[in-house]
Amino acid sequence: MTQALQPTLTFPRAFLSKNLRAEPAQTSDNDLLKAIARSDETALGSLYDRYRVILFGLLVRILNSREEAEDVLQEVFIQVWRRASHFDESRGRAFTWLVTVARSRAIDRLRMLAARGRLAEAATRDEWESVSDADTDAFYAERSEIVRRALQEIPEEQRLTLRLAYFEGLTQSEIAAKLGTPLGTVKTRMRAGMVKLRELLGQQVRNLL
């Protein structure tokens, strides 16, 4: 357990300035969504190109299947197409909305597959990886590194509860049963983990996206 936890992770200034600099000519997510709301297919393609890797990685991690993940990712972007005009930028970032939609649909699918007994056996990570372009690799590698370093600062038992909830869609009671841990302990760990994650990433959320 980390005894001297810092309020935020300290990343080298040079690292942040080099790796988290926004592309000046890039259309904002909000503008893309407004264009999609006007039935602009090109905007939908751009939004897809921007987030396909992170969203697909998330779906594969949850569903453990490329086939199911592609199916869900298609559903997500059709939902974006249909509901872009309902997006309220005052409520949060487009990235958060996309991730939340994707995760919600993936967990629904996960439960449906589990109910049908068709949940894929755990595959090795190598089976999922495919080559992406260099810019995309760099973009996600850098951000993944920041998030993972933050998670490493969180005690292991807290990190485990966060991952079980986020990637397996388990409730607190289900996590308690899975780990053989009292429900109260799970709640405490989850809350502490969330607070620390926010402390660690709080100052950098804006820079990350």
């Binding site: 594969v60 991690r61 298609q74 972007f77 970032r93 939340t100 990570r125 993972r148 991952r163």
Partner: protein
């Protein structure tokens, strides 16, 4: 926890209902969701197939965008419904629910059976209680009769059947105090609303005694107290009378003493 959708369903419903009316909590939840969404980077990026992009764009060409879907009335919101905790087909939960229904039905049926058995037992117990009570009364009468018969100085008188009941026979035993017991055999069954009545014969006059009815085998008995004025009587008769008894005989004589 709600941002992680990790709350148990009951808690999640309560919180969802609350944030619909509490802008402060909704704003806090939005901030937590911003942080939680970053966990997607923990999964690492994976490149989907190149064909997926075209499939999506092709699908959207046949799907009206939100601005064109005039029928849609959804309010502007980024709120994503909680993943529905349901399953298709019969999951373990479904089987568990079905098993629970059957178990409950079996429980209810067993309760009804037990209740029915309980009622039957109660009725049987009531019947047995009545039989025991009758047996106790009969035993008490027999003890009384034995006591009378065995008391020193007790006298007995035989009664013979008349032409309407030639097979009938009875004995009346009485002690000095006037306690008398009648034991009769082979008496015809009494018609509905009728009973046999004992009479004491005093100076040619009949004094009414108690009523009785024989059992299915023709046996009948009763205890009575011979009136003081009839103590010296040695004559007895039994007639068939209305069930409530009469002050003077109205029916035929079935038994009478020979003296």
């Amino acid at each position: 926890m709600h941002a992680l959708t990790a709350l148990d369903p009951g808690d999640a419903r309560l919180l969802t209902a609350h944030i619909e009316h509490c802008s402060e909590c909704r704003s806090t939840l939005d901030q937590w969701e911003e942080t939680v969404a970053l966990l997607a980077f923990d999964a690492g990026g994976v490149e989907p197939s190149r064909q997926l992009r075209e499939r999506i764009l092709h699908a959207t060409r046949n799907t009206p965008a939100s601005s064109q879907a005039g029928g849609q009335t959804a309010e502007a919101t980024n709120v994503i419904p909680m993943p529905v905790r349901r399953s298709e087909g019969f999951s373990m939960q479904s089987w568990t629910a079905i098993a629970a229904v059957f178990a409950f039905a079996a429980f209810v049926i067993s309760l009804l059976v037990l209740w029915s058995q309980h009622n039957a037992s109660r009725q049987e117990l009531a019947l047995l209680s009545m039989q025991v009570k009758d047996a106790q009364q009969q035993l008490a009468r027999q003890r009384g009769a034995i006591e009378i018969v065995t008391t020193p100085g007790t006298q007995s008188v035989e009664l013979e059947g008349t032409e309407v009941a030639p097979e009938a026979h009875a004995t009346v035993a009485y002690d000095r105090s006037g306690r008398a017991v009648l034991l009769a055999n082979n008496l015809p069954p009494t018609p509905e609303g009728k009973a046999y009545q004992l009479w004491f014969v005093v100076s040619g006059q009949l004094t009414p005694g108690k009523l009785f009815s024989p059992d299915a085998s023709g046996h009948g008995s009763l205890e009575d107290q011979i009136p003081a004025k009839a103590r010296g009587s040695t004559g007895f008769a039994i007639t068939l009378e209305p069930a409530g008894g009469v002050a003077a005989p109205t029916g035929q004589i079935y038994l009478r003493s020979s003296q």
